[in-house]
């Protein structure tokens, strides 16, 4: 194994190789029909896993449930993820 000089990492955002979606027990399912586009889920996701079109990136979503909890109209359900 060789390391870079001073263990400098020159690949910004390279944690993306680590698909934290595998951590998930519950999976958020967003119902766009109910959504009132308040942006809560988008802005509060610690993983930045919900985009501004309210699509969820399941590669990284850890299933914390914040989005669901913060949705004012219950448009996001947490379901058991198999």
């Amino acid at each position: 194994m060789t390391t870079s000089v001073g263990c400098t990492i020159d690949k910004p955002g390279s944690t993306r190789v680590n698909k934290t979606g595998s951590w998930r027990t519950f999976k958020p399912i967003l119902n766009k029909d109910k959504c009132v586009e308040c942006d809560n889920c988008y802005i509060f996701c610690p993983e930045g896993s919900i985009n501004q079109e309210y699509g969820i990136d399941y590669d990284f979503c850890k299933g914390c449930g914040i989005c669901s909890n913060e949705c004012p109209v219950n448009a996001i359900e947490m379901e058991i993820d198999n």
Partner: protein, 288 residues
């Protein structure tokens, strides 16, 4: 609010599901943008974002040790100045331990010297990275692994150190408190801080699912309760002028906040009353 679209903290980082610290950074960097250099103290944030050979950072990032983020940031800021890159936002992140306790001297030095930088203390009220030991920012009555509640102990027996006011005593141009549950308020403050010529300090409340003992989904809800009960006031001090930036219409009883977290579960009525009194006094003092 029209939130800036770009993200500078990549997913895949090792923070717990529902980690508020990740959110602090995500929001701060959204606001400060690409033209930023980040300095971090040792703690959850650094450990979860830089597992060599991976990094979650999409802006330049440096970590040296636990107690010296203020000093490292000072060196970075001056080196950028020497290179004629004075427009770069220099943002240092430290946990409460790295800021309020072991890093206090280094922050104090940086603030007093007037470096053009923003220091953001993400306050989860204990040493989380090493397993929830108390810090100077741990509130009275909280049970931690070094201030545990027990048959003759109600947990932490000292009130929280008032770091924002210590910073205010340095006479720096911008100081603010914030909460991850109020992102517009926080990002507005980051904007002011980075636009300030000279040192700025933001102390942000960061609920921690693991250390405080609550379900990850509640991270934002609990942060909000902190503010709505007056436990965590939101204010700023701009060029010496104090201003409350958010006033709950009607303050909720602090017991609602306390009962939501395992670290306060052991508290009896007397202790809760004492905390309510403390919060009442604080709100009266600040005009909330």
């Amino acid at each position: 609010m029209d939130f800036p679209k770009e993200e500078f903290l990549a997913p895949g980082h090792r923070g717990c599901a529902g980690c508020g610290a990740a959110l602090v950074v995500r929001l701060a960097l959204k606001q400060s943008g690409k033209n930023t250099v980040v300095i971090a103290a040792t703690g959850c944030l650094e450990v979860m974002t830089t597992p060599y050979p991976e990094t979650a950072w999409e802006v330049p990032f440096i970590h040296v040790a636990f107690e010296n983020a203020g000093a490292v940031a000072s060196g970075v800021e001056r080196a950028l100045k020497a290179q004629g890159k004075e427009d770069v936002n220099v943002i240092a992140f430290g946990g409460d331990g790295g800021s309020v306790d072991i890093g206090l001297q280094s922050i104090s030095g940086a603030m007093e010297r007037g470096h053009n930088l923003t220091y953001i203390c993400y306050d989860n009220e204990a040493y989380m990275n090493t397993g929830i030991q108390r810090s100077g920012a741990t509130p009275w009555g909280a049970s931690t692994t070094t201030s545990p509640s027990g048959s003759v102990s109600y947990g932490e027996d000292k009130p929280k150190k008032n770091m924002p006011m210590i910073m205010a005593a340095h006479g720096i141009p911008y100081i603010a408190t914030a909460s991850i549950s109020y992102p517009e308020d926080f990002m507005q403050k980051v904007k002011k801080a980075t636009e300030t010529k000279g040192p700025a300090y933001i102390h942000i409340n960061q609920p921690c699912t693991t250390g405080w003992g609550f379900e990850p989904a509640k991270t934002i809800e609990i942060g909000r309760l902190g503010v709505e009960t007056g436990f965590w006031p939101l204010y700023e001090i701009e060029n010496g002028e104090f201003r409350v930036t958010y006033r709950p219409t009607e303050r909720k009883p602090v017991v609602e906040y306390l009962k939501s977290q395992k670290r306060f579960k052991h508290l009896g009525e007397d202790e809760v009353e004492k905390i309510q009194e403390y919060v009442d006094n604080q709100c009266e003092e600040l005009g909330i």
